[in-house]
Amino acid sequence: MYDVVIVGSGASGGAVAYTLCKAGFKVALLEKGRLMKREEFSKDEQAYCRRDLVTPNLFDEYHTIEEKVEGEWVATPSYESGWSFWNGNIVGGSSNFMSGMLHRMHPDDFRLKSKYGEIKGANVVDWPIGYGEMEPYYALAEELVGISGHFEPHPFAPWRSTPDFRQAPTKENAVVKLLDKSCKTLGITPLVTSRAVLSASKAGRDACYYSNFCGSYGCSSGAKGSSREALIVPALATGNLTLLSNTHVKKLHADNTESVSYAIVVDTITGEEKQIKAKLFVLAAQAHETARLLLNSANEYHPHGLANSSGELGKNLLFSGGGSGQGELYKEGLKEIEFEELMTTGLFVNRSVLDWYFIDDPKEGRFKGGSVEFMFEHQNIISRAAKDNQEEGKLVWGSALGERIVKRFREQKSIRFEIFNDWLPTDDCFVALDPVHKDKYGMPVGKLRLNGHPQDIKVGEYIAKHCEKILQEMGAQNIYASISAVPAQNLVAGGCRFGDDPKTSVLNKECRAHDVKNLYVADASFMPTGGSVPYTWTIYANALRVADAIVKQLKNI
């Protein structure tokens, strides 16, 4: 019997495994995907970005996605739509493929209801902990994961217990001169982006080599702070970790109302099914799959799903509000920098804006805003070549197509912004079990009902207008922005809210199930509200916090 079984090896699973193994406990880390080592990764766009090689085949494993169409909820299996909600199913999870632009949440993100009050149609609540309880773990994650950056005071930047990042910022493209000047002309403060990418080598991981193909790809130097590189590799080095890849967990079994006895798993290669026992279980399967696993673990002791006496399991699923926009910089009219500098490949844009994190606008009112990241358009060659080959609704082909594509690559570079604002929790965004569809293991698939709150759109559009002005000031052409209620499927949280009241929350403030003494949830499921930044740093930090609580419990067993 293991001390602890962890389900899922992404950011949170790796963080828990690291802490427990360092503390001397015997841990089994279960991952349904395979192990890909650093040496196996390449920048093969066809393999990694055009085909589902690191995610399940949607005809084998899928979700049903429920959207409102003409007033009715309509569920579509993702094998029909192609809208995959898998985000990297290999050891290390989707952290292998992140771009790594990370931010801490603001202290007021922990008390959104207290600060802004009720929002009609949204289930906003304060967190049961404050930023002060999370801050030491943000700092620890920064150190362990290797987050590079430079702290600059800003009215909306969260406070830090350490003065600055130990890792200097990654190298920057000259376009930041133009971006910085344009922001300052508009009275906007550009900040250096903190990034889970090493600028200097650290503990067996080499510094970034600026490949030009970071997000969506595994890192070949170990610079990217994936769960695998930063946490699982050192956890394995303790000798306390058993890494079980190709191991899919079908359900958890509870012999009574108070504890889990074992996980029922299937070997994804052989199909063999077996039980894995432990003193304590930690779920880290990504929010929508963690809730599904708990729902699928219903039995006579837990008729509505494991840890679901509150009825809250799966509810208040979160994504990220906002959207993105883009503009093209051409040689003609380019200010501040040379075109050749702009076209230099590999270096980061490395700029964020927090000026609209909290909005108090004389015309629009006072409301919670969001954060903005600036970056170049993803440099994937096939996707850039295939983009927008239409004119007046007709495909361009023949000689004109070749000329159009060559011009797109050689005469301009597109700069992009991405907006992250709160996805307000509502009654119409949740995960449940689909009553009909089952995966290839015979288990009901997750049905995701997706519906955004109108406030999310309002906030995104407000910020997008400001971002478009920055691109205009930079001299960009063909500027556009897209803000919609369609969620980014890789930014998912909620579904197992933590809170002090077992009647209204699934987990307690240490992310242990209220109902089940030996069950924790370490991924982003715990979040009652998501803040206005990407989740990953908070996931790392909270999992390290939860792991400390688990260590305390294990010492008392």
Binding site: D44, E45, R51, L53, G82, A386, L395, V406, R408
Partner: protein, 179 residues
């Protein structure tokens, strides 16, 4: 974290609808393909049509002329389990439908006639989606890593001045094959 937004405008959301339409057109036999041998035969039958369309889209006197290796690339990648089986059927039946519209003489049409034929096909939602799919698959062939056999000596990367990152793949996800 890069936002992984799903773009619904690509038409893929409605791909099942295209299959249903294909069935209505009497093209559903492709849905019954079970074995790789079946696909090989089916692909061989429509290959001249697809190549004719690609040749029209990517003419030899253009900056990005069609590579003769493109069909092999398509066959290999479409045969692999990672390729969406609905799109595989769609590619096959869309070519058959195009030929059907022209009494199986599309490939022998003159360039101007092909232009008229393809623009007419594009007027239908089905034809428009199919042509877009063929263009995308051709671009995948041209701009993939040279290891896939089409972008030899980085010819297409050179033309646009953009290069794949390092490390480059040492093996193809579709397996090894003599190229």
């Amino acid at each position: 974290m890069l936002r992984k937004d799903f773009i619904k405008k690509t038409g893929i959301m409605k791909r099942r609808n295209f299959l249903i339409l294909g069935s209505a057109l009497g093209l559903f036999s492709y849905l019954k393909l079970k074995k790789s041998d079946d696909f090989e035969v089916a692909f061989k039958n429509v290959k001249p049509t697809i190549e004719a369309v690609q040749g029209h889209m990517f003419p030899q006197n253009s900056k990005l002329p069609l590579s003769l290796q493109t069909s092999l690339f398509m066959y290999e990648t479409m045969s692999h389990p990672s390729f969406d089986k609905d799109i595989r059927v769609f590619v096959l039946e869309g070519a058959s439908e195009l030929e059907k519209r022209h009494d199986n003489h599309f490939t022998s049409l003159a360039a101007q006639e092909k232009e008229i034929a393809l623009r007419a096909y594009e007027e239908t939602n089905y034809g428009s989606a199919w042509l877009s799919q063929i263009m995308t698959l051709t671009l995948e062939a041209h701009f993939s890593d040279p290891i896939y056999g089409v972008n030899k000596n980085e010819k297409y990367w050179d033309e646009v001045g953009a290069y794949g990152g390092l490390p480059r793949p040492k093996q193809r996800y579709i397996g090894t094959i003599d190229v």
